[in-house]
Symmetry: C2
Subunit: 272 residues, 2 copies
């Protein structure tokens, strides 16, 4: 999917919501556990109930890998279901990968070719040659960690490097990489006041924003400081939506939570 197509979808749906499909068998409704593939059944129901309210889905690969081959199959079925039924949806493999060049190429193939995701999250620690292999894929997007939503973000990311915080160095440096137009960035909603500075460095890039809801981030604040001319934000909510109910009405409850966020986003877009 091109960035322009994503922007179009945001305009059509009046939403910049990304729904995190982080499925934990201990948290989904008990009656699903008798299914052959409970994770896929759960995802399918959530997707069918919410696809008109969001522009993106983001399975975090950890939740699938934890169930071994069975989990990997659930992930494959989920992305195939999305690509076949809702090709207008932007898909994110939240995998936080990164390795030396030839190895990063293998990861890029895994997520872009084999699984056919539109984007994958990567970690910046290993630098340019660990990220550039991802950037060579046409109409695919590489979402690099910049400032994450967890407490550990303050361990290294906000430390001062040559007079500038590390996450700012990461943003700044990455702009010079080959095919950097295929970069997006992860910036946690829990640090809304940082968005103004971030927009000075990357005024137009899309930001994937976790941490609204369960982790305490505030949507209004994030939009106030982080929105670009083309919205430029994908606000992710996982647990707040997919675990809205642990009963048979879980999909409907998820849709209601997604609808609340979409309503809020529609107003924000109108008043922009």
């Amino acid at each position: 999917m091109t960035t322009q197509e994503l922007i179009e979808q945001i305009k059509i749906k009046k939403s910049f919501l990304c729904i995190g499909l982080d499925v934990d068998l201990n948290k989904i409704p008990k009656h699903l556990l008798k299914e052959d593939d409970p994770i896929f059944v759960f995802n399918k129901a959530i997707i069918d109930a919410t696809h008109h309210l969001c522009v993106a889905y983001k399975p975090n690969t950890a939740f699938y890998e934890a169930y071994g081959i069975k989990g990997w199959k659930s992930l494959e079925k989920t992305i195939n279901y999305l690509n076949e039924n809702y090709p207008e949806i932007f898909t994110v493999a939240d995998a936080k990968r990164g390795d030396i060049g030839n190895t990063s190429t293998m990861y890029a193939k895994a997520f872009f070719d084999d699984l056919a995701f539109d984007s994958v999250t990567v970690a910046p620690y290993m630098g340019k040659d660990s990220v550039e292999p991802f950037l060579t894929f046409k109409n695919k997007h590489t979402i690099m960690l910049a400032l994450t939503s967890n407490q550990g973000a303050f361990d290294f990311q906000t430390k001062t490097v040559d007079g500038k915080e590390l996450y700012k160095q990461v943003l700044e440096t990455s702009k010079s990489w080959n095919n950097s137009e295929n970069l997006m960035y992860v910036v946690g909603a829990t640090k809304a006041e940082y968005f103004a500075d971030i927009r000075k460095i990357i005024p137009n890039s899309f930001l994937l924003v976790p941490g609204v809801g369960a982790q305490g981030g505030n949507l209004q604040e994030v939009c106030k400081y982080g929105m670009s001319d083309n919205v430029g934000l994908l606000i992710n909510s996982s647990r707040g939506i997919i675990y809205a109910s642990s009963n048979a009405d879980y999909a409907q409850a998820a849709a209601e939570k997604a609808q609340e966020l979409q309503n809020e986003m529609e107003i924000i877009i109108k008043n922009k």
Copy 2:
């Protein structure tokens, strides 16, 4: 496996060699491609031919993920084969994972419980709460990236943070984390002169050292500056060993290359 058991194995085998099982179907002998699971057949032959010369095997997960579910099955068969036939071998899932707390726990379960690896590599960018979930597993080891072997290491890792290079901050900071005795570190062989400084910060921790051979690192130099009282090094070689021959004699050729390194290591240990 405990650290003490690993040290014992190094003494018994007079080797601190780790063999990287980074299997690319384009590089293995052509005749294997007619097998049902060429990756596993290749790994099994390499392992059977080299297990007495090394103390560890390190499959890089990227090479398996690139082949989807089939690749994940090859990885599972490989680790099961190792655990069943050579339980004295230390196993490393080179996955470079890292995420927020509850998600890192899922990754830890995937590699420590589901696949039963002895250790997994992780990235430090997201800080303490992204790594500590891995450290809670008893007799399992978390190998954190410190100074990697690629050119991109100079993009952020060697930049000065509060008066000290980032990789040194990472080493220093991690020492205060809960269960930090379960930490090991990745330090690239391509930067041998850095080992002396690193040993001042972590005198006894095990270091996983990629970059000898194909990437140009020098074993003698690494050992001169990096060896601890208990050796404290796992020197990894991947391509230099497993692709020593692309013909039917590939396993034997791999054993010869591994033997060369083991011979060199035996002399280094004796002269320590």
